[in-house]
């Protein structure tokens, strides 16, 4: 624990959540809101920002109080902290936009059970310094928001022929209604995972080939 706390803040802390350890595409966390509210970019953005707020604030408080919270009551304390920020975000969204609040439905309150937030509090914020925890949570939250927008963009485009409410295709385009329904969430998530894993695999194969060529070694044959 001590070793973790002494580690300096690096760019890696921030970027890990964006891509390499993306909570949706790599860690597959918090998939319930990912599938449920990504039928439009606006909903995805609203949910992403709400989750980012709760993640950053709760991780900051958990990290700041980590020396005072006994191990035996840590999970209970984390849940109280997370539930507090979810309640705050619930009021704040109602104050900013009732329309958005109505569109996101019960999924705002359900942020409290998003395992991404409790997972980061337990695995990272409770073992690291304040700054590092906030930077990491920001990266994770932005990675989560990015994933939601990637799903929401495709689903809104194909399911309604729009992007952020603006029509993209001509009137002749027949929307794929399934895309804005729950099965569309599974289909688009599957397609993104397929594409991302294909790109990752191709990159690593390419890197291996280049390394082998650079060191004048032959690539070992697989049998």
């Amino acid at each position: 624990m001590k070793q973790n706390e002494q580690e300096a803040i690096t760019l890696q802390d921030f970027t890990a959540g964006l891509w390499k350890e993306n909570p949706v595409f790599v860690m597959m966390l918090g998939l319930c809101p990912v599938l449920a509210v990504t039928n439009t970019v606006e909903n995805a953005l609203g949910m992403g920002i709400a989750t980012l707020f709760v993640l950053v604030c709760s991780n900051a408080l958990v990290s700041a109080l980590r020396h005072f919270i006994p191990k035996q009551v840590r999970i209970t304390t984390y849940i109280v902290i997370i539930a507090t920020f979810v309640t705050l975000v619930d009021y704040i969204i109602q104050a900013i936009s009732l329309d958005l609040y109505n569109k996101l439905g019960a999924f705002i309150q359900l942020i409290v059970v998003n395992c991404l937030i409790l997972g980061r509090a337990e695995a990272f914020a409770s073992k690291n310094g304040f700054g590092r925890s906030v930077i990491s949570a920001t990266g994770m939250g932005l990675g989560f928001t990015l994933a939601l927008i990637m799903l929401g963009g495709v689903r809104e485009l194909l399911g309604a022929g729009q992007l952020l409410g603006y029509p993209v295709f001509s009137d002749q385009f027949e929307p794929w209604v399934i895309m804005i329904l729950p099965p569309g969430g599974f289909i688009v998530l599957g397609c993104w995972l397929l594409l991302i894993n294909y790109v990752k695999q191709r990159r690593s194969t390419l890197a291996m080939t280049q390394n082998a060529a650079a060191s004048h070694c032959t690539v070992p044959q697989q049998h």
Binding site: V37, V80, A95, G105
Partner: protein
């Protein structure tokens, strides 16, 4: 000889209770602060949403008056009044064009609240706007987007029998594609629970308010001429 495993010392119960109490108090303080700060903003948003909904469902109205339903009577009120409020819409000549009425029922996830337009002259419900809904996106939310479902409200019959002072018929939701009567609502396939909730809430609200409106129609008709109206369209 095997060495005894070292047992970590447990903190005292007092410390555990104190930690949880401090965190709970901090949590309560934050929630109360934000609640107090956002309460007036949320109330104003709700008032604006209601006003928007009134002018949306009563497109010919340019102003409206708020009334409170009290013991079968209508009393002039304002938006800050508590109790059951209804809104009468008037055109530029102060002629009554319709009444906006609240309705609510349990949906799939939570209570769905709507405001619907009622024409007391034709006895038709002519449209509605969702004020609060936490229904499943893509399913329950279709009640305000599905064209076939919205066609039910071109003229959903909710007439009052002048002799008995009650509704001629109950409003009910029927299975998709089986509507035969003007007082029936054709449900959305795949969103039956929310469709049924709309039927239930309209039936309940119509039984509650329509007879009162029929009884106090002349009051509603003359109210805008007798006093300055509370709100106007921009």
């Amino acid at each position: 000889m095997a060495q005894q495993p070292e047992v970590p010392e447990l903190p005292s119960s007092t410390r555990l209770i104190a930690t949880l109490s401090v965190v709970a108090m901090l949590s309560g303080l934050l929630v109360v602060l934000v609640y107090e700060y956002t309460k007036p903003i949320i109330s104003e948003n709700q008032r604006l949403a209601t006003e928007r909904a009134i002018f949306k469902i009563l497109p010919n109205a340019v102003k409206y008056l708020t009334f409170k339903v009290d013991n079968g009577q209508l009393i002039t009120a304002d938006n800050k009044s508590s109790g059951e409020l209804i809104y009468a819409g008037y055109d530029a000549n102060n002629t009554l064009v319709g009444v906006a009425l609240p309705a609510q029922a349990q949906g799939y996830q939570d209570i769905v609240k709507i405001l619907y337009a009622y024409n007391p002259y034709t006895g038709c419900i002519t449209g509605f706007d969702v004020l609060k809904s936490t229904e499943t996106p893509g399913f329950g939310t279709q009640i305000s987007t599905n064209k076939e479902f919205l066609a039910n409200f071109n003229c959903l019959s909710a007439k009052v029998d002048p002799t008995s002072g009650a509704l001629w018929h109950d409003i009910k939701t029927v299975r998709h594609g089986s509507k035969t009567q003007p007082f029936e609502i054709d449900a959305i396939a795949g969103s039956t629970i929310t469709s049924n909730a709309v039927g239930r809430m309209l039936n309940q609200s119509a039984h509650r308010f329509h007879p009162v409106i029929a009884k106090n129609l002349s009051l509603l008709e003359n109210a805008a001429r007798n006093k300055e109206v509370s709100h106007e369209t921009k």
